[in-house]
């Protein structure tokens, strides 16, 4: 069908545009503050959670923990901080929690040196020759410098261990993508709209949950998350009733509406930037958990809960689509809106429910992503490309396609980090997409129509 093909091309264009903030962010990570070597093997390819502490205006500091994992803290390790041209600023020893920090005169480039002599017997640096690290300090938040120590990080993992660990991470990440992408796919299926602002619904949910959890009423994360999902669902309903339904009623073309969603995405993203700020924050709950070792895979209780919870939610959605009246109506409207109307289905109402559900799921995905990585104002737009990839890979317009596609995209991106830099992982999701479409142009679960 030529219409489908044109829409696929449009989606690819949208994806390419979504890559832009992603690339900008990858560059930011390269020049980031974690200059010490990351001795942990668990979070391969994931950004370190940013420290939640913020500093008073005008104060800059460098801090770190020994060992970086925070497990079995080592007391009395000495660190010296110098300016880039070798002038000593100060030194500090780790306290009982293994934490040290040095206040520096202001933002700028500094050098941190560890004194290996002060490490306890039997504990050595992973790389004994690397006792210095460069760090750039920004105003307002402490720069973290970490030095990996060998016998706490354990032996370097074998290929199979890394494969198992990255697969686990990929499943976790893929489930989050799947959840966020279901709404994107269902909105496309029922109305033909490519919602470029779907990433901002992800961000909005995560930011609202952060506000309720860590700033405003300081609710427990489960309650804050639940309320944030509801509020984002309401936002979805507002967008549908206030913007997209009137546009459809005036028979505005799909391409025009697509451009409107781009504008909406920019508007929402920057409104969030103004309100939330450009920094990354973590939720107040479930941080710094000890990993459980499950065979070759180590996972925090938080992440295990996320994986199980996501599976339950996705199974619930599938059951809803398969068994309930409104779910069947959603599939019917995706198949043929006019025939749905002719069958007595109130199509506008079904679309409204799809928007509420899709926005709520996007918010839930954002909250889970925020719990795993961190909350920031661009998290959703960075995820948008992967959501588009998942939706197209799985088959346009079907919720199941989004689920399967999300899982595949998550697995491919995480497993690729065994061989290549994490900042390139999105490229692999797109390569998988192109390969899959060459074999199955309609997507994995997309179906070709029988004619006649």
């Amino acid at each position: 069908m030529p219409r489908r093909r044109r829409i696929s091309a449009l989606l690819l264009l949208a994806g390419a545009m979504a890559l832009w903030p992603a690339a900008a962010y990858a560059g930011d990570d390269g020049g980031g503050t974690d200059n010490g070597e990351n001795g942990e093997n668990g979070e391969n390819g994931e950004e370190e959670p940013a420290p939640t502490t913020t500093l008073p205006m005008g104060v800059a500091a460098i801090t770190g923990t020994m060992p970086p994992s925070g497990v079995d803290p080592i007391e009395g390790v000495e660190f010296t901080v110098e300016t880039a041209d070798g002038q000593e600023i100060g030194s500090a020893e780790t306290d009982v929690d293994g934490v040290w920090s040095v206040v520096v005169p202001g933002p700028g480039a500094y050098r941190v040196e560890i004194d290996p002599e002060t490490l306890p017997d039997g504990v050595d640096l992973t790389d004994p020759d690397r006792t210095e690290a460069q760090v750039t300090v920004f105003e307002g938040r402490p720069a973290r410098v970490l030095f990996a120590v060998g016998d706490i990080g354990g032996d370097r993992p074998t290929f199979l261990e890394r494969l198992a660990q990255n697969t686990a991470n990929g499943v976790k990440f893929g489930l989050i993508i799947a959840m966020a992408a279901v709404g994107l796919s269902l909105i496309f299926g029922t109305t033909g709209l490519i919602n470029f602002a779907h990433g901002e619904l992800v961000t909005f949910g995560a930011v609202v949950a952060w506000f309720l959890n860590a700033r405003g009423p300081q609710w427990q994360l489960f309650l804050a998350g639940f309320v944030a999902v509801m509020i984002t669902g309401l936002l979805g309903a507002t967008l549908e009733r206030g913007v997209f339904r009137p546009l459809r009623a005036r028979q505005v073309g799909l391409f025009q509406m697509f451009v409107i969603t781009i504008g909406l995405a920019l508007l929402m993203r920057h409104a969030i930037l103004i309100w939330y700020g450009g920094l990354r924050h973590s939720y107040a709950d479930y941080q710094g958990q000890t990993r459980w070792d499950l065979g070759p895979v180590s996972i925090t209780p938080r992440d295990l809960t996320i994986v199980c919870g996501s599976i339950i939610v996705l199974v619930a959605i599938a059951t809803m689509l398969q068994r309930t009246r409104i779910g069947k109506a959603m599939r019917a409207v995706s198949d043929n809106p006019e025939l749905s109307e002719a069958s007595g289905i109130d199509v506008q109402r079904v679309v409204l429910v799809v928007w509420v559900m899709g926005a709520g799921l996007a918010a839930l995905g954002g909250i889970l992503l925020g719990a795993v990585v961190a909350v920031d104002w661009q998290m959703g737009s960075r995820l948008l490309l992967l959501m588009f990839a998942a939706v197209i890979l799985g088959g346009l317009g079907t919720a199941y396609g989004a689920m399967v596609g999300g899982l595949i995209v998550g697995l491919v991106t995480e497993i690729s980090t065994i061989w290549v830099s994490p900042s390139l992982k999105i490229v692999f999701a797109l390569a998988a997409l192109v390969l899959a479409l060459l074999v199955r142009p309609q997507g994995i679960l997309g179906r070709k129509e029988r004619i006649g």
């Binding site: 009246r325 069947k328 109506a329 599939r331 019917a332 995706s334 198949d335 043929n336 006019e338 025939l339 749905s340 109307e341 002719a342 069958s343 007595g344 289905i345 109130d346 199509v347 079907t398 179906r447 129509e449 029988r450 006649g452």
Partner: protein, 248 residues
């Protein structure tokens, strides 16, 4: 050119309908149609005469620019399709008339979306009419043949027990054997008490089973009358039935 006055106890009446898809271009230019209880009314005419547009305008799928549609005496000109379904009108489009990714059962459930509780009772009524569908209840509708889809589409529209069924070219694209089956089904449905408006390309077959028929041309009524009369009316034969009718 309507032969009867409107509102004359008709179950469904369209009077002076002007309607179209693109602003400024009218496909229907003052079209009339009446359906009385128990009738099969055929709508025939050359390509582009506005036959399909007429039923879509009646069913609220095309914007009506002037004129009125009444159903059981009430004005339904601006009613939406799902409201009309609730009032007892069924519509089977010519193409895309099933939900391809839904199973046959689910298609029928969607036909009864407004009264889900009546499903088992309605299935018991519908199944004997469409024995081939009963064998394929779990199959995806997209995997059915064209003829089976047409049967499913009619069955779906009948689930709500409509008093009026609008059929848009039910025999189009089907093999002659399946066309026969479709016309047989239409007759049976009518015998069961459903009044039918049937748009058809196959004018000859349509006129054979229609009580009355309208011949449309360029968005207006050209002729109307009893089906058997029109079938043998030399003007109609010459203008619209053409070689097909003369050959028989």
């Amino acid at each position: 050119m309507s032969t009867e006055a409107t509102g004359n106890g008709a179950l469904l009446a369209a009077s002076n309908l002007v309607a179209g898809y693109v602003p400024g271009v009218d496909i229907l230019r003052g079209c009339n149609l009446e359906l009385h209880r128990g009738e099969i009314v055929g709508v025939i005419g050359p390509n582009g005469a506005g036959k399909s547009t007429l039923v879509k305008a009646i069913f609220g799928q095309v914007e009506v620019r002037s004129g009125a549609v009444t159903f059981e005496g009430d004005d339904i000109t601006s009613a939406s399709p799902h409201q009309l379904v609730a009032r007892g009108m069924g519509y089977v489009p010519q193409v895309a008339n099933v939900f391809p990714t839904l199973s046959v059962t689910e298609n029928l459930e969607m036909g009864l979306y407004l009264q889900p509780k009546a499903f088992d009772r309605r299935m018991a009524d519908i199944r004997p009419l469409f024995p081939r569908l009963s064998e394929r209840l779990k199959q995806r509708a997209g995997s059915l043949s064209g003829g089976e889809r047409q049967m499913l589409a009619m069955a779906r529209a009948l689930m709500m027990e409509p008093s009026v069924l609008l059929l848009d070219e039910p025999s189009a694209g089907l093999s002659p054997a399946f066309q026969d089956q479709v016309f047989e089904r239409v007759h049976e449905i009518n015998d069961a008490g459903v009044s039918i408006v049937m748009v058809e390309q196959n004018a000859r077959r349509c006129l054979q089973i229609a009580d009355r028929a309208y011949v449309l041309d360029q968005g207006g009524n050209a002729y109307s009358g009893a089906g058997s009369e029109l079938l043998h009316d030399p003007k109609v034969v010459e203008l619209y039935l053409g070689t097909l009718a003369r050959a028989k």
